[in-house]
Amino acid sequence: MVMKKYDAIIIGAGHNGLTNAAYLAKAGLDVVVVEKNDYIGGASTSREMHEGWVYSSASYVCSMLRQAIHRDLNLTKHGLILVPYLGTVNFGDDGSTLVDYPNEEAAYLELKRHSPHDADAMHRFQADLARYAQFIRKTLLRTPPDPTSLRPRDIRELMFLGKQFWALGEKEMYEYVRFFTMSAADFLEDYFENGLVKAAMSSAGIIGTALGVFSPGSAYILLHHVMGDVDGNIGAWGLARGGMGAISNAIAGAMQEHGGELRTNAGVSQVLVKNGKASGVVLESGEELYSGIVVSNLDAKRTFTKIMDRKDLPPGIFEKAEQFKIRGSSGKVNIALSALPKFKGLPDNRYIDRGGQGFTGSLETMERAYDCWKRGRWSDDPFVESVIPSAWDPTVAPPGKHWMSNFIQYCPPTLADGPWTPGERDRFGQAVVDKIERYSPGFKDLIVHMEVRTPHELEQEIGLTEGNIFQGELTIDQLLFNRPFPGYAQYRMPVKNLYMCGSSTHPGGGVSAACGANAAREILMDLKRPNTVPEDDFYDE
């Protein structure tokens, strides 16, 4: 019997693996996606963990998803609706609250109540951020150039970057370089005086990151979180109707429409390499699948240290992968509630319920939480970023009941005194609940069910090494042409016919579908097939 040979096997049905497969299938390739779990989506998934409640188990809000891909793959037809959510309320240590109202005037007045100075400064801050974001946004759906290469395409792309950079103007060019190495706190110090305003603005600088608000590099993370948009509103975040799984499901729908195949419960134990070329995979069941091309949606460390034979790799790659910075720092607590919680210090304004909650405290509180992480502990007073999608999404909880997503910074990948145990995990969850209870008396009584995810669970379930939510930290040494490793930023890996398409590659973590799409473009180029990947569309063109 002649074994079937696919054109491409994609390892992992994360949203990037699915996007990659969709574009390869659209180009006419015979593709199969093999996923270890019995569900798809990886960190962009919706799961019914308690009857009637659908959690976005990992990622929970969307703003980076490339609109051009949404449109091109017709994800709306495949069931995806993205809805911007109303602004976030930040809670200060002293009981004060700061609401980021969706209405500009209202937001200004609210800031003014805290600090007239900061209300004015916000305009400059937002203009500056938008300018920085504009630059980085333009790189998202492009393959990073290799700065050491003289190939025309690399030179063209370098020139593109240069041109965009020059367009910032001289002063901003200096600022920009500073920006990549600054801490979020220092960056904000230039603009604001009010403690809660600074804390609120800085929180985006630590999400998913093993850095504190005072650590150099956190300013860029802040930018990474505001460069997205919903329908052109840069910095806005949205929710997917039905949870983040709706994104992966829609991409999978498009992929299947183009003839791609999807296999769940099909974990890969080994990438087959023959004569220096990737030629297929061995599944955990022992079954072998063959293909001309193998694409890994796994993070770089996992790909090279877990499912590849060290002997198949050129010297130095295994070590590079081992050293890839991928420290886990975040936890996730999903809570089913019997009613909408009420928070202290807030007016009875229904629209505030329909935004997010930032249990921010202050810069100092956030830094203390980071100190705990450094010592291998969780904090009793962590930074928690929450949202209650059920307040407008009727599909994720029964009528009148609610689902609250809580993202926690920080949570260590392993504890100082040993590995995570179910007991420790639950104690971590309890610390989070205790914190929310302080801001919402009676909160505990509303809890119907809870799912607690530490980096340990994230690694076990989604395969994110050390539970790092971005498949590798977003620091300058691991960004753009350095991602995942210098010299391998163009999705081609050190073994021929092996590619990577996950968040370990440019432009990094987040539900953007950009990594998967960019990798598809490179693969199609190597196969001399017409490109099926669209160019990005910009509101700021």
Binding site: Q67, H70, R71, L75, T76, I81, L82, V83, P84, L86, P102, N103, V230, D231, G232, R241, Y351, R354, A391, W392, D393, P394, T395, P399, G400, D537, F538, Y539, E541
Partner: protein
């Protein structure tokens, strides 16, 4: 001195739902419609639009014009006025109609509700009492009553709308098919519910005695509390109707009776509403002209466009070449569709140019500077937004 009194005659009327709407209107954003104070938006137009697409929201249709047409000749009279054959319209059904001048130019569009064999309700966007009177000429047993101010009406639209009406106690509403009418006892009176709307989504319209208007609002909002019910205004309506491909007077068509310039009004064929014109029924207003138009083919055809890029093609001219030198039409309504994630528009395109390339010259502003660009347009055969739930009976709960 009481200034309110002084200017009383110039002030807008208040809808039967005004007390509740005023409380919801956080932005004090009021426009007007047929003499009524009417919300542009209540909180945030885009948020309201998303309530229509994701949960449910209400739209005040008190200002919409409503006429009872009654008597033995009511059906014959309406059938002579509108282009569609309504003689086969069953009891408790609604149908969408247009009516034209003798020249076949469109006066208005609206809906006809058959409430009894000799009783119909006609609804439309602008007042048309005079036209109705003229149309009744020659019929002995027909009376037209303007009910506009005497019926309180509220449109409830969105995926959870059926669930909310069920919760409100309207048993059996889930068996109503699109365009069905149901009657429910309501505090000694009747609440009429039709499965109709202007959003292209699942939705209903509620019709009630004005004295019960606030009571109905309160009961509806109590039932809808767990379903994220929210009022929506004109801006959100305009977004939803455009996605559904519905036409608006003053946008897609210029009402014939208000048109000064020759053929600056439209025929139903131009508006892609040829399916509403029934030449097999007895004579109706505009028939001869429309027959000719049908044979000749309309000069322009209302077309759905998907336009590259994301700058709305508002007020754009259309061309058959990228250099924008050969003009072939104009955009009537345009927007970025947040649900579909596409740059959509309705446009009047010269019928004989529909097969070729279509380019829109788009104008936009960026920090006080004007830009323009040519964007390729593709013709969409289907409505931009047409979810299955809008047609399903029984509809899903969300």
């Amino acid at each position: 001195m009481n200034t309110a009194e002084k200017y009383a005659d110039e002030r807008l009327m208040r809808s039967h739902f005004h007390p509740r709407e005023a409380a919801w209107n956080v932005r004090d954003a009021w426009a007007s419609w047929n003499g009524y104070k009417f919300a542009e938006c209540y909180y945030d137009a885009e948020y309201e639009y998303f309530c229509v697409r994701n949960s449910c929201a209400t739209y005040d249709i008190c200002p919409m014009q409503k006429y009872y047409v009654q008597g033995r000749d009511a059906e014959a009279m309406l059938n002579r006025m509108v282009t569609r054959d309504i003689s086969k319209l069953p009891l408790d059904r609604v149908t969408y109609v247009v009516w034209c001048t003798d020249q076949g130019r469109m006066v208005d569009d609206g809906t006809i509700f058959k409430l009894a064999d000799d009783r119909f309700m006609l609804t439309c966007g602008s007042p048309c009492g005079a036209w109705l009177k003229m149309s009744a000429f020659g019929f002995s047993d027909v009376t037209v009553t303007d009910m506009s101010d005497h019926i309180a009406a509220l449109s409830l639209q969105g995926p959870t709308s059926c669930a909310v009406l069920k919760k409100m106690g309207l048993h059996g509403i889930d068996s109503a098919k699109p365009f069905d009418i149901r009657h429910f006892p309501f505090h000694g009176d009747t609440l009429m519910v039709s499965r109709t709307g202007f959003t292209g989504d699942l939705g209903y319209e509620l019709w009630v005695n004005p004295e019960l208007a606030l009571q109905m609002w309160d009961e509806l909002y109590a039932a809808g509390a767990d379903y994220n019910i929210q009022p929506f205004g004109e801006e959100a309506t305009n977004m939803a109707r455009l996605e559904a491909g519905f036409i608006m007077p003053g946008m897609e068509f210029n009402e014939a009776l208000k048109t000064i310039h020759f053929e600056h009004d439209q025929t139903p064929f131009e508006l892609n509403l040829g399916w509403l014109v029934d030449f097999n029924k007895p004579h109706f207003n505009g028939r001869n002209a429309l027959l000719k138009e049908k044979e000749r083919g309309p000069k322009y055809t209302l077309t759905r466009l998907d336009i590259e890029g994301n700058k709305p093609a508002e007020h754009s001219y259309l061309y058959s070449n990228k250099r924008c030198t050969r003009e072939i039409g104009y955009v009537t309504s345009a927007m970025w569709s947040p649900a579909v994630k596409a740059n959509i528009a309705l446009a009047m395109v010269k019928t004989d140019c529909l097969e070729g390339e279509i380019w829109a010259e788009i104008y936009y502003e960026k920090e006080l500077r004007q830009y323009n660009k040519a964007a390729r347009c593709s013709v969409m055969k289907k409505p931009f937004w047409a979810p299955a739930r809008a047609r399903a009976t029984p509809p899903p709960d969300y």
